[in-house]
Symmetry: D2
Subunit: 225 residues, 4 copies
């Protein structure tokens, strides 16, 4: 898509997503010029930071905003569990710097949400159900993504949740009537799915002046300037 090499900064570089992002960006020839976690901070080059990526924890948010301002670079943030105040801080920041904030950087999930929204309008009198399956370490039930799907359907539909072994994340949506079933399903194979969304967001955001975007905006309004 884009041949330029991105010089990125990474907040939370040693977490699972940090490692995955490092791997994918390296594969595409992009350079990490700054990295930080709770233990250490390192400048790997004295080059400008083109984009700053934060997959650390919500407690680091204040520092992440400070860094984005200092570097004057766009911020992509996938930290979970942000509260309303924190979202507002990001919106304020987005007046001067472009910000992409999302709880799910998977392209497939964003597509699924669009599909569900489309199907909904043609199946108002059908039955709809959601099943999601995740690893046994997941704390929330149902998953945040399942709740996002339900919101798109705008009906009070049942969500079944399974917690089995090491499943990274399966979501299935069923629309059915007496004669037929339509199913839309998504399955995460590896965290690379999310890292690709971060890379898409980086390519989208570089060169913009400001603005607050979700990953859905990145995918579906790519033609805008």
């Amino acid at each position: 898509m884009n041949n330029q090499s991105i010089r990125y900064g990474l907040i939370g570089f040693s977490g699972r997503m940090g490692i995955e992002i490092t791997k994918l960006f390296l594969e595409f020839g992009h350079n990490c010029v700054f990295k930080i976690n709770t233990q250490c901070e390192e400048f790997l080059s004295n080059q400008k930071v083109d984009v700053l990526i934060d997959f650390s924890s919500k407690d680091m948010l204040f520092n992440s905003i400070k860094l984005a301002k200092k570097f004057n670079s766009p911020l992509i943030i996938g930290t979970t569990g942000l509260d309303a105040n924190q979202i507002q801080l990001l919106r304020d920041l987005s007046n001067s710097i472009p910000v992409v904030q999302s709880y799910n950087f998977s392209t497939g999930i964003q597509l699924l949400l669009k599909l569900v929204e489309f199907v909904r309008g043609y199946t108002l009198d059908w039955d709809t159900e959601i099943i999601e399956s995740h690893h046994i370490f997941k704390k929330d039930k149902p998953s945040g993504t399942a709740l996002m799907i339900k919101e798109k359907i705008e009906k009070d539909i049942p969500i079944s949740s399974m917690r089995i072994g090491g499943i990274l994340g399966d979501h299935k949506v069923f629309f059915g009537n007496l004669g037929e079933i339509l199913e839309i399903s998504h399955r995460v194979l590896s965290r690379r799915a999310f890292a690709e969304g971060v890379l898409n967001s980086a390519l989208f955001v570089m060169g913009r002046k400001n603005g607050f975007f979700s990953y859905s905006d990145v995918l579906f309004s790519g033609k805008e300037v």
Copy 2:
């Protein structure tokens, strides 16, 4: 949706689809006023035929067109294997009478085709595959529906076909990359799926002057006059 009772004629009333249509239309309070198969022809009432439905065989087409003209009633035709000449005859007829012609009256399949077309644009560098499963009596392989799906994807993708027991018709489309898989699947539970499409078509077509429609037109241009 619509409270009016439809007075319909049915060509091929004793075939599997004929029986299913009869059952569904009865359930919604519609009246069969004329029925015909290769053995017999019966007027069950001397009322006007609001709509004529043909699920017989392509060899009956000439007669079906004659009947539609005679009754001056819209024609819904689900006969399979029509050749180019026969389609042209139906197009000619549609200048004076509305015609709905489709090889698949399932709402779910029409939705799946739309979804696939949408996803395609966002997954150009993903892998795509189709699997279809049908009963062991099915003669064509891959299914006509699988070929329709492939056509929407506009790439030369593999289709796997399974022929097992009594499966009425499963179609699965997979879009995947290294990190994730998006799947769109359809499963026919009973031929009622198709009968519902015929009923939707009947409600769509009544009151129209003329025009040649597919079942996709019925579903997705319902707001047109």
Copy 3:
């Protein structure tokens, strides 16, 4: 398997299972010589009844037992919701007449139960979950079959139940750990699945003197005399 023509009696011939049994037995050349429902009773031949099949209601049980004694013919009974007293009446009957009693005459479900029992022993520290999907008219939740599966697993595992459209009956059992998932699934395509089990039971039971059997006995102890 067996070339002899069975002369069978059918209690509850006009119910859904009655119709399915009639169709399947006809296909294999077996003759209905007696049929009864709540409205009427008919001897279609004055031949001996080789086997009596009851898919009516538990309220008819007393009459069914009377008929089995009168005809002195084996009884196959698929009536649901029998209470302990009624089961005891059948056990008493089985001292003089062979009886096959089961709540699920599907061969696939009986196989699934065996498989689950086998896998269980090798996956004691894996996670196990059941999902079952049925049509919206099903009253019990979870399904009786899901409860039977859970009983085989001998652990307090979660069962998720979906009620969607016209699904005749899907059951899925998952065994998973951090590295892998094993799934055993069953899907009813038509009530023919159960009618085949009734036919297998008829072939099994004819020529026996007495005994109380489940459909599991029919399948898995076929070599016994």
Copy 4:
């Protein structure tokens, strides 16, 4: 299961399976005392090697056998593509040292093979099909595991192969007739599935004098001494 700490040697420590084995064995408190790849060889302790694990390449086999003899330790070998001569060398070795040789150390696949073998006997007149899905880098088609499944079924059944994105390995076996479908499926979530099989094999093999074993033997004859 077993509290003893295993002191293991690892041939091919830097390959994908080598890394996975190292991670899992560490998690359970086992110690790598010797490791080797094509570049280097390292003794991490001067302790005895309890078991030697080889996930390198078939070209290393001769050296692996030499090492097993030198250490006088059991050998677990998951190297793929061994030829008949190489298998014979391992059988010769197994006269004096226990050897576990397998092309698939997944417990779930071994269970699936057992289930398929059992179901086969009860579904001789059903239709059977296999689908396998793997990542796009897989060279063989169908997969070796699919061929093993087919062999258990002892019929010439179709295998459909999908190559999509990053799927580590899915195998599905379907048994169906006109009324029902029984499906047995397996899905690899991570290479940990295979590492667990290696650990099970290590615990099985330690303390034995000699013998040639498959991973199926490890799982299903665990009660033997």
